[in-house]
């Protein structure tokens, strides 16, 4: 392992290793820190934050599905003020690399959030979550349309200033994810996060009603991994120079390696942390071993390798 260069880059920022948390699956880091030091991670991607505190949806918010789960949290969070006051200082104090994920109801809200972040030091990148499926109106999922995706990214780009890398988090629930990726790349993103959850639904056959209070929820877990691999592969093929943070059902080093081969420059661990708080650490170690076994001396040589070997 000593011979392996495990570092990776997103835009102008370098990360010591490619294993991140996935937004919404690690809260703001404190909960997991009891189980391992957050400095082990390439970065902590915080739960998508909005301008105001938000209670989120009613319960039940969760339904376990075969090799996966539906969640319907509805972006519960403390709002940007409390987040910047409490969570960011704590993460900095604990020497974590930080990627802040933001979410808005309007194009303007994303701009407001970006402006709040421009003055904050200690952040390595901003993830723009334009693909949360748990909103009242499906039309509000910005990443379902190239135009709305562009509008949000332009708003963030205008307001954030400086060189903080912007990462757009996209939904796989679209006909052509490459077209959406093109729109946000043209609008100036430095990287992409692929994929958010897929919209799903479970009906309880005892009560004969939807299991979730919000009726629909985002499907995550190993069940969606092939969808993630496909999306990353397609987008990397079209834009080989745009870094992709891959995510979707990664629970082992093998899974992470699969996403890297498809074209991911980093891999986020999401739902796997629910079942196993040390999943990210385990994935990191297993991936390093696998890369070494396969003869890679530099992690970056493995990114998109599946394209080269076809």
């Amino acid at each position: 392992m000593s011979a392996l260069d495990f570092s990776t880059k997103i835009g102008s920022k370098r990360f010591s290793n490619p294993i991140f948390t996935a937004s919404g699956c690690a809260s703001s880091g404190q909960e997991l820190s009891q189980f391992f030091p957050l400095t082990e991670l390439g970065a902590v991607v915080t739960k998508s934050i909005m301008t105001k505190a938000r209670a989120g949806r009613a319960t039940p918010r969760m339904a376990e599905t075969p090799s996966g789960m539906l969640n319907s949290i509805g972006l519960q969070g403390p709002g940007i003020d409390t987040f910047l006051e409490n969570d960011i200082p704590w993460l900095i104090e604990n020497n974590a690399k930080i990627v802040v994920s933001i979410a808005g109801e309007t194009v303007e809200e994303y701009g407001v959030l970006a402006r709040r972040l421009r003055a904050v030091s200690g952040i390595s990148a901003v993830e723009v979550n334009i693909s949360c499926p748990n909103v009242e109106n499906r039309g509000q999922v910005f990443s379902c349309h190239p135009d709305t995706s562009t509008a949000v990214i332009e708003s963030v780009r205008r307001n954030i200033g400086g060189e903080l890398p912007i990462i757009a988090k996209l939904s796989p629930d679209v006909t052509d994810i490459v077209a959406i990726a093109k729109a946000v790349i043209d609008a100036g993103v430095d990287g992409l996060a692929l994929i958010n959850t897929l919209l799903g639904m479970v009906i309880d056959t005892n009560s004969m009603k939807p299991k979730l209070a919000g009726k629909t929820g985002g499907l995550s877990g190993p069940a969606i991994r092939p969808v993630a691999v496909r999306a990353i592969y397609q987008v990397h093929q079209a834009f080989p120079n745009i870094p992709i943070i891959g995510m979707g059902g990664v629970a082992t080093g093998r899974d992470a390696f699969e996403l890297v081969l498809a074209g991911a420059s980093a891999v986020s661990i999401g739902t796997a942390s629910f079942g196993n708080p040390t999943a990210a650490l385990q994935v990191k170690n297993e991936l390093a071993d696998l890369l070494t076994q396969k003869g890679f001396k530099d992690f970056r040589d493995a990114i998109g390798f599946a394209h080269r070997s076809v």
């Binding site: 699956c25 809260s27 909960e31 189980f35 009613a58 319960t59 969760m62 376990e64």
Partner: protein, 282 residues
């Protein structure tokens, strides 16, 4: 109620050996070797266990209230659980043999608060929800409290009341929905009369949400303290997934509070039990 202290303090993830697995009526009483974890576990805490084995399609942990934790027993530190095999995960756990290992995280969550003076306490448990109340009874008795226990279930064999658990109890009342044991009717129907007769000053409850809600109402009417251990479906048990929340009243409105971090033991008077109120306000 929101604790600023370190989240998941004392929690550890371990491979834990199954030391005993006995069927007790419709439930399983299971003992796990947990080493030092037992010393940190207090009545009300829970553990989260991986189920289904490595290749399982069940990706989420299952949460179980600790029935009893013994710090330095003949088998070292142990934690005991009472498991009802009603879902895929709990069925898998109940099928684990002595000598097998499970991935266990604990202790998690809040524990029952103990009165500083010797109060008259009533411990109310529904079904296997009675499990954490026996260890609580012991602590309360040692503190000089009077402990009256009321256990209810749909039918007689679903009441979990082991002999050793009853040692610390001054009185035990049973209720069953079908009248096969004790008082015929729902547990909450029997409570007001018992509170008057026994001079109850503090209520502790554990069981299904409907029962807790009914008890919260009674506690409010009698104006007595009520600590309840709530049951919301959890995905992680460690505070990252935000699924196990209950609505709680705050000065600036309703907040959804995680029952794995700020629960499972919560102040019954702070929880908003009426779902409709919450749905209207969210």
């Amino acid at each position: 109620m929101i604790t600023p202290q370190k989240i998941n303090k004392n929690a550890a993830q371990i491979k834990s050996e199954v030391l005993s697995n006995k069927k007790v009526g419709p439930y399983h009483h299971m003992v796990f070797a947990v080493g030092e974890m037992a010393a940190h576990s207090k009545p009300g805490n829970f553990v989260a266990i991986s189920v289904g084995g490595e290749q399982s399609a069940l990706i989420l942990r299952r949460a179980f209230a600790v029935y009893r934790a013994i710090d330095k027993g003949p088998m070292g530190g142990t934690i005991e659980l009472v498991v009802a095999p009603h879902g895929q995960g709990s069925k898998w756990l109940c099928a684990q043999n002595v000598g097998e290992y499970v991935d266990l995280i604990g202790p998690l969550g809040t524990s029952f608060g103990i009165p500083t003076t010797n109060a008259n306490t009533m411990l109310i448990g529904g079904g296997y929800g009675s499990a954490p109340l026996f260890a609580l009874a012991e602590v309360l008795k040692n503190r000089g409290c009077r402990v009256d226990m009321v256990l209810g279930a749909s039918t007689a064999n679903k009441i979990y009341a082991p002999l050793e658990g009853k040692r610390s109890v001054s009185s035990l009342t049973l209720t069953t929905d079908d009248g096969t044991a004790g008082i015929h009717g729902q547990i909450s129907e029997a409570i007001p009369r018992l509170i008057r007769e026994l001079g109850t000053e503090v209520i502790y409850s554990c069981g299904p949400m409907g029962m807790l809600s009914a008890i919260a109402k009674i506690a409010e009417e009698f104006d007595i303290a009520h600590q309840c251990a709530v049951e919301e479906a959890m995905a992680c048990g460690i505070g990252v997934c935000m699924t196990c929340v209950v609505p709680v009243k705050f000065n600036d409105g309703i907040k959804m509070v995680r029952t794995c971090i700020d629960g499972p033991v919560m102040d019954g008077s702070e929880i908003i039990w009426d779902r409709k109120t919450v749905l209207d306000k969210l």
